[in-house]
């Protein structure tokens, strides 16, 4: 099971890297979304995917799944959600202000703008 998940996460990373290297800003943001999906999946896999009850004490099971990676993922999800929201709004503002979503046209060194 872990091997399958690692392959899936790897495919997500590959897709994310491919998208982030493209010219369009929106494709780059979709790439960051896939990157964080891959990261969270990897974090879950790293904690181990052995069978066990959900980490709720009321289940009275003999074996529970590891609760720590789930807490870490929950934290990482809200953080990446916040960052993605900021990123999208800044991309929208940049589109309004610069009139392009092409990263090739966002170059240059004029510092006294």
């Amino acid at each position: 099971m872990e091997i399958l998940m690692c392959i899936v996460a790897g495919l997500l990373f590959a897709a994310a890297v491919y998208l982030m290297l493209s010219k369009s800003l929106l494709r780059i943001i979709i790439g960051t979304g896939l990157l964080s999906h891959g990261t969270h999946l990897m974090l879950l896999t790293m904690g181990g995917l052995k069978g066990g009850a959900v980490p709720v004490l009321g289940e009275h099971a003999s074996l529970y799944t590891d609760p720590i990676p789930q807490a870490l993922i929950l934290t990482a999800i809200v953080i990446s959600f916040g960052v993605t929201a900021v990123f999208l709004v800044i991309a929208y503002r940049a589109y309004q202000e610069l009139g392009t979503d092409n990263m090739e046209q966002m170059r240059g060194m004029e510092t006294d703008d």
Partner: protein
């Protein structure tokens, strides 16, 4: 007062939340943020004194014993850096009163600065690797807002690149933490250190060490990973740039120092050789940039990269002298970079441009600014009575003792590049006749100059009073060279 080490995180946090309620009252914003910054400095000084007398201070959050809860650890290194960053933030806040402009002030500039300080102080103090990630994100989120606040074209353009690079490095950080968790089964830094010592020199530990180097190198701007830094740092206004240049990259350097002395000290031959090589290339790349540009901001920005290279070279050597030199240089560099960016900001504000060929002849009207800038430049290059000297001396000495002749000579040559670029900057801006015959209108700069000058004075005192700082730094070095001290303090064995 057992909870004192949390105050440098709590005070800015509470004041930031308070400031969110009164965005339109600029006077209140200024008053509260200055008072909160001052209180942070005082609390950090109190904790410093406590660490000096009683040793490493730890707090287990929620009274959960060490490896299970989050532990905040104030050892001498963290609290020295917390004190330095709090003082720099105080000076930057005072400097912002005049320079940042009311448009930005009414749009939550001061609370965001306080949130940035929360992130920085938290990163220095935490004893939990995932908590370090969270504090990094607090710091980075604030920096995203600070880099784009105002919304000019260049800021929007550069903030996209800055955010993208940091999103990628944060994802890598989470993956690195995941790998580390699967190897050691712990997130507490002291506990991880114990577990890694049991595992010994498995290849996976070396892979982890390099993954962390890539993550923190992206934050800190080391050689192949510094590409985002010159463009992004040139975008925001001077006080924000002073905060970034003084604090953000140094947090990356601190994280490398902490992980390489606490986690990855087993297979030094491989990891530390790579670190040394990257450090030298960082210095070379920074020197090339500092010499190439005719722009006030760019020269100062490439000087950040040179300093990161010097610090990494000190970390790579891993002897007692080298670590002591690194700490001396780290604190000096935070202070002097903030001072230089603030002075550079005044120069840009007076002349209305950052291009050196359009400036000139400022020494007639602004002699105090000129001589302060020259003093700061000399301190940056490491001229003996000033603050940059002792750190570099110890690093170079340790380099020669370890037989790393090439590295030590490159450190010395990079000082030459620093000195040349800074003096060139000084001569172009202050001495040379201005291109245009008109003299600049005399502008009132006192309220911006005083905080910047305070930092320069502090740096001079730091250089002259090395003897007074020495016991503090050596105490920090002791805990870094012997990780058992840190581990015992946290796990209370």
């Amino acid at each position: 007062m057992i909870n004192a080490p949390i105050l440098p995180i709590l005070i800015p946090l509470v004041s930031a939340v308070l400031l969110l309620f009164l965005p339109k009252h600029i006077q209140a914003q200024r008053l509260i943020s200055a008072a909160a910054s001052l209180a942070t400095v005082v609390s950090a000084a109190v904790v410093l004194n406590k660490v000096k007398t009683d040793g490493i201070q730890t707090i287990d959050m929620g009274s959960w014993p060490a490896p299970f809860g989050i532990t905040l650890v104030s050892d001498m290194l963290s609290i020295l850096l917390v004190l330095t960053s709090s003082f720099i933030t105080l000076c930057v806040v005072l400097y912002s009163f005049r320079s940042i402009g009311s448009g930005r002030e009414t749009f939550y500039y001061y609370p965001i600065v306080q949130f940035l300080l929360v992130g920085v102080n938290g990163s220095f103090t935490t004893g939990d690797i995932f908590n370090l990630f969270v504090f990094f994100e607090i710091m980075l989120m604030s920096s995203y807002v600070l880099i784009v606040i105002g919304g000019t074209r260049v800021q929007l353009r550069e903030s996209i690149k800055y955010i993208l690079v940091n999103v990628i490095s944060s994802a890598l950080f989470v993956i690195a933490v995941g790998f580390l968790y699967s190897v050691t089964g712990s997130l507490n830094m002291a506990h991880i250190s114990v577990r890694l010592a049991d595992i010994g020199d498995e290849p996976i530990v070396t892979v982890l060490a390099l993954l962390f180097l890539v993550v923190f190198g992206l934050k800190g701007g080391i050689f192949p990973l510094y590409f985002w830094l010159p463009g992004s740092y040139a975008a925001p206004p001077a006080p924000v740039l002073a905060l970034f240049g003084a604090l953000l990259t140094k947090v990356g350097v601190y994280a490398i120092l902490r992980t390489y002395t606490l986690f990855f000290y087993h297979d030094q031959a491989f990891t530390h050789d790579i670190l040394a090589l990257l450090a030298l290339l960082t210095m070379v790349a920074g020197s090339i940039g500092a010499l190439a540009y005719k722009d006030v901001k760019q020269i100062l920005i490439y000087n950040i990269i040179i300093a990161v290279g010097v610090l990494l070279f000190g970390i790579a050597l891993m002897t007692e002298d080298a670590i002591a030199g690194t700490l001396f240089y780290l604190i000096h560099d935070m202070i002097i970079k903030a001072a230089l960016f603030m002075l550079g900001g005044i120069m840009i504000w007076i002349t209305g441009t950052s291009k050196m060929d359009k400036m000139g002849g400022l020494i007639r009207q602004y002699p105090a600014l000129g001589w302060t800038f020259l003093t700061a430049s000399f301190a940056l290059a490491g001229i003996p009575p000033l603050s940059g000297f002792i750190g570099k001396l110890l690093i170079v000495q340790a380099g020669f003792e370890a037989g790393e002749y090439v590295g030590a000579i490159i450190v010395l040559l990079s000082s030459l590049a620093v000195l040349y670029s800074m003096v060139n900057l000084f001569m172009d801006v202050f001495w040379k006749k201005p291109k245009l015959p008109q003299v600049y209108a005399k502008k009132q700069t006192l309220s911006m100059f005083v905080p910047a000058a305070a930092l320069v004075v502090l740096s001079v005192l730091y250089g002259v009073g090395t003897e007074a700082v020495y016991p503090y730094v050596m105490k920090a070095v002791e805990a870094l060279i012997h990780p058992e001290i840190y581990i015992d303090a946290v796990l209370k064995e």
